[in-house]
Amino acid sequence: MRRVIFFSPLVLFAFASIYFAFGLTRDPTYTPSMLLNAPVPEFRLSPIQGYTEGLRSDDLKGRVSLLNVFGSWCISCEVEHPFLLSIAAEGIAPLYGLNWKDKPGAGAAWLARRGDPYAQIGNDADGRVAIDFGVTGAPETFVIDASGRVRHKHIGPITPEEWETVLRPMILDLKNAQNAD
């Protein structure tokens, strides 16, 4: 009995260590999206400077689409941008843009320099729509199905590898499901 009491802290410590060691293998930057499989929040955004068309939540319904959160102030968006152009060129789903907290005209000037991959862009100057989407940083990309539900949230720049292995197969699956209906 004495021996059991004497060694119990050690045993407890061993169990706790194993438990926490598993915890260390988890990604601390991962934030679960609350919107998964939920309809996109209602919004109506005006166009960015020099554009005529803004973006509304209704634009995200009717077919599988991508919504990309970007800002001219965002370095990672600059890294991601060339690949967004090639996604837009591939054309398997329309790519919509949410210009997050940009100064007036800054987003448009940024796109004029680099090329515009977006079918439509909403100007989220005060960042409220991004908050409704649970955005924690740019870039973030949402895969939205034909019924206007969020099916996937991608945090950070989309890499060609992630596009090939995760996003494109998912988009094609969703399109097939839509056609089957």
Binding site: I5, T29, T31, P32, M34, G127, I131, D132, G134, T136
Partner: protein, 185 residues
């Protein structure tokens, strides 16, 4: 060393922990005019995690998103929302994860129960150890007749041995006391 630790260092560490507080990151122009509402906003903000920096509250963080969320909290307060409604509003967007004080639910049960359970287990072990230390030797079963006889026999023989030993000792002493007499006689 031990005295320094208990008399000086520990109280100092305790006081430091009690007196320090997160510096607030709130800009003066974010503040609400009504001090009571502003106090409520700061209290709420301290309960909300900044999703950019993870380990700070939005009240303590300099991140632009934290600033947006602070303004949002103040807007909701000014609009007359209750604390619960505002926390729920945030949790709907960023998950229960944003609540720095996690609600009691299935996946947080361990978090809430563990400290109490560990305290109870520790107290039980402590009590058990203290008890076994203070315990008087317990009364033994009375001896059986056979054992009693054996014991008597043993102590008798022991007594005999002792007597014999004493006699021989006396003899020896006697002997030792007069060695010169013997040799000199």
């Amino acid at each position: 060393m031990h005295k320094t630790l208990t008399n000086f260092l520990l109280p100092l560490i305790g006081a430091t922990l009690l007196l320090t507080q997160d510096a607030l990151a709130v800009d003066p122009d974010e503040r609400l005019d009504d001090p009571a509402l502003e106090a409520r906003a700061q209290e709420l903000g301290a309960q909300l995690r900044c999703v950019v920096c993870k380990s700070q509250s939005i009240e303590a963080s300099d991140a632009p998103l934290a600033s947006d969320l602070r303004i949002l909290v103040r807007e909701r307060i000014a609009a007359g929302d209750s604390d619960e409604v505002i926390l729920e509003f945030m949790a709907e967007r960023y998950g229960r994860y944003v609540l720095l004080k996690p609600p009691v639910q299935g996946n947080t049960a361990v978090l809430w129960i563990a400290p109490i359970a560990l305290f109870v287990i520790g107290a039980m072990i402590g009590v058990a150890v203290l008890r076994s230390r203070n315990q008087q030797p317990t009364a033994l079963d009375p001896l059986t007749a056979e054992e009693d006889a054996k014991l008597k026999a043993l102590s008798l023989s022991h007594k005999e041995n002792q007597d014999r030993h004493e006699i021989s000792l006396e003899k020896e002493l006697h002997h030792d006391a007069h060695p010169t007499k013997v040799s000199g006689g």
